[in-house]
Symmetry: C2
Subunit: 343 residues, 2 copies
C-alpha cells in the first residue's frame, strides 16, 4: 500500500505554503528554461488545433509555487503563439494534483483571483497511478515531487537483509546495498509514473519534470544530515528509541542523470527534448528547521509520535544555525531539468 | 459580491455529510427518472464519438449524495450503450464543483475507492459564473443547490423599500413585494447559471437540475418556519436583537414550474426534454435540528455570531419534536425534475 505524507497544510507559520522558498528558488532558476523549452518544443499546430489546453501539476502541494509555475507555462505558450502570429488563445484548464491527504482547501483558498488565465481544478490521488483520462493532457508538470518514493524500500527494515539500514534514516554513508535498494524502488516508481503519464498525455504534448538529482558518480551528501543527526542525538539521550530509528527511512531518492535517462528511455513513449542540470550555486543553503518541518512533520509524527516534533526541530534549528549551508562539492543534490515530448 | 455559505464540512455529528438524508431521499426518488431520462434523451452518437465523457456536479457539497448521483448517471449511460449494442465504454471524468469554501478535503476523503468508474476532480467556485472551458462538459448536474441565491435581495434590508422584510427571515407571510424581490433575484441568478452552462455544455449534452420548486399559484409555506419562529422567540427574550432579524434573510428561493420554464426558454440554448414534479409524499418531514444546522450554521453564525448557535438549535429540536412534519397541502416545496438538452 502506498502511503502519503503531505506537506503541512494551511498557511500557518509551519505550513508548506510559508516554507517552500528552496523549491521556489529552484523553480525561479528554471523559469527561463521552462518558457524557452515550451517555445522551442511545443508544436504550433498542437496548440492552434485546440479549444482547451489542459495542464496538470503533479505534486502541487498548497501553493504558491504551483501558481507561479502555471503562470510561467501559460506565458511560454502565449509567446509561442505570438511568435507564429496567432492572437487567439485556447482556454486553459489547469489540474492541481496531489495526494488525497494534501490540503486542497488551503490550495483553493490560495488560488490567485482575477485576472486568472485558467479554469482551476484539484485532482486527488497518487501520481504513481492513473489520474486522468487517456490523451487528455497537453502539458504535464512536476516540480520537486518525484524524489518522494511511494514508500521506503522494504529491505531497509529487514534485519536479515544486507540492506538493513541500522542507525541511519537515509542512504548516504550506508552500505551499497542500501543505496541499491533505494535506486530499485525509485526505478519502480518512475516506471509507474511514466507509464501513467504516457497514457494521459496526448501525442505531441510536453512533460516537464524538475527533479532533485545528483551528478553521476557523486554519492549524495548532507541534505538530510542535520535531521538524521538530531534524531541520533535524541536517541542517545533516550528521547526516541534507537530501535525506531533502525526502522525509519526517508522515502526520498535523487537519481543521477544517467540513471534517469535510462528510466525514461525504457518507457519508450517519451523523447527527451532536453535533460540538463539547473544552474547551481557554489554554496547551497540547507533546509531551515521550518522548511524541514513543513516537509517532514507528517512522516516523522507517524513513526515517532507527535511528542518528538517540537524538541526535534528545536534541536534542528540550533544545528542549522551552526551549519546553515553546504558547498556544492559536498555532494548535495542538484535540480535536473527534464523536458519530454510524448511521441 | 457573491457570498458563500458552505454546508458544514467534515464528517462530525453536525456535518452535512451526516445530515443530508432529505436530499438523499429526494435524489433516490429521482433515480429512475435520471436513468430513464439519460437512456431516452442522450444521443448514442454523442457518447460513442467520445474518448472521455465529462460530468460535472454543481453544488456537490461533501458527499455522499453526489457520489450516488454520479453512479446513477454512469449507470444510465452504460444502459444506453448496452441497449445499442456497444460494450466499449468511454472513460468518465467527473468534476465535483462547489464554492471555494466547501470542504473539498472532506469530499476527497469521502470519495469511493475502487471500484470507482471515473477519474475524480474538484472544481472550486461559484456556479453563477464560468467554471469550465467552452463545450467541455457532456453532462451537467445540480441537485438541490440552485435554490441558494447568490445573495438575499438587497431591498429586503432597506427600511425605505416596500420590500423591507421586518420581523421575518423569508418570504412566506410577507407582503408581495418581498416575494417579488426574491423572484427577481432568482431570475437573475438562474440567468447567470444557465448562461455559464450554455457555454460549458457541448451541443447534444444534457443537463439535469433537481430544484426545490413549488406548484404554481401555491405560496411557499412552512419549510423554514421552525427556524424563523425560534429566532423570533430568542429575540423576544433578548437573546438576539430584533434589529438583526430585520436584516437577516435566507438567500433561498423555490420557483414555480411556470416561472422556471420561462427562465429556461429565455436562455434559448437549452431545450426542455422533461420538466415535472418529483413524486411527493402526502406527509413531509421538516428538516431536523441537525439537518437545519448542517445547512445553515455558517450563514447564521456570520449574521448573529457563533454564540447563538447551540441555543438556537436546542430550541429548534424541541419545536421539531412537537411539529416534525407538514402535509403537502400546506405549501411545502416539492422537487422539480428538469432535464435539458444543449441545442
Amino acid at each position: 500500500m502506498e502511503k502519503s505524507y503531505p506537506m503541512t497544510g494551511g498557511d500557518g507559520p509551519c505550513s508548506y505554503s510559508k516554507n517552500s522558498s528552496l523549491q521556489h528558488e529552484a523553480a525561479e532558476r528554471a523559469k527561463s528554461s521552462l518558457v524557452g523549452g515550451i517555445v522551442e518544443n511545443l508544436d504550433i499546430e498542437h496548440v492552434t488545433s485546440l479549444n482547451t489546453f489542459a495542464i496538470a501539476d503533479f505534486g502541487c502541494s498548497t501553493g504558491p509555487n504551483t501558481f507561479i509555475a502555471v503562470d510561467n507555462m501559460i506565458e511560454g505558450i502565449i509567446q509561442k503563439l505570438q511568435r507564429h502570429g496567432y492572437s487567439k488563445l485556447p482556454e486553459f484548464q489547469v489540474f492541481f494534483s496531489d495526494h488525497i491527504s494534501n490540503d486542497f482547501n488551503a490550495l483553493f483558498a490560495n488560488l490567485p483571483t482575477s485576472p486568472r488565465k485558467y479554469f482551476a481544478s484539484g485532482v486527488p490521488g497518487s501520481f504513481h497511478g492513473r489520474l486522468f483520462p487517456r490523451a487528455s493532457l497537453n502539458f504535464a508538470y512536476s516540480a520537486f515531487a518525484l524524489h518522494w518514493l511511494s514508500r521506503a524500500p522494504q529491505e531497509l527494515g529487514d534485519p536479515s537483509s544486507p540492506a538493513f539500514n541500522r542507525g541511519r534514516i537515509y542512504y548516504p554513508n550506508a552500505p551499497s546495498e542500501v543505496g541499491e535498494a533505494y535506486a530499485a524502488q525509485y526505478a519502480k516508481d518512475m516506471e509507474s509514473f511514466l507509464g501513467a503519464r504516457a497514457e494521459e498525455v496526448v501525442s505531441g504534448g510536453l512533460m516537464l519534470l524538475l527533479i532533485p538529482g545528483r551528478p553521476s558518480e557523486v554519492s549524495l551528501g548532507p541534505f538530510f544530515s542535520l535531521l538524521e543527526s538530531c534524531l541520533l542525538d535524541m536517541a542517545a539521550k533516550g528521547l526516541v528509541s534507537e530501535d525506531k530509528i533502525d526502522y525509519f527511512n526517508l522515502p526520498i531518492y535523487s537519481p543521477s542523470i544517467d540513471e534517469l535517462t535510462t528510466l525514461i528511455l525504457n518507457n519508450a513513449h517519451f523523447s527527451i527534448a532536453r535533460l540538463d542540470q539547473l544552474p547551481q550555486m557554489p554554496i547551497i543553503p540547507l533546509p531551515s528547521a521550518k522548511e524541514c518541518r513543513a516537509g517532514f512533520a507528517n512522516i516523522i509524527t507517524e513513526h515517532f509520535g507527535s511528542e518528538v516534533i517540537d524538541e526535534l526541530f528545536d534541536r534542528y534549528a540550533k544545528k542549522h544555525a551552526e551549519h546553515p549551508v553546504v558547498s556544492a562539492g559536498e555532494g548535495v543534490s542538484s535540480g535536473l531539468f527534464v523536458l519530454l515530448k510524448r511521441n
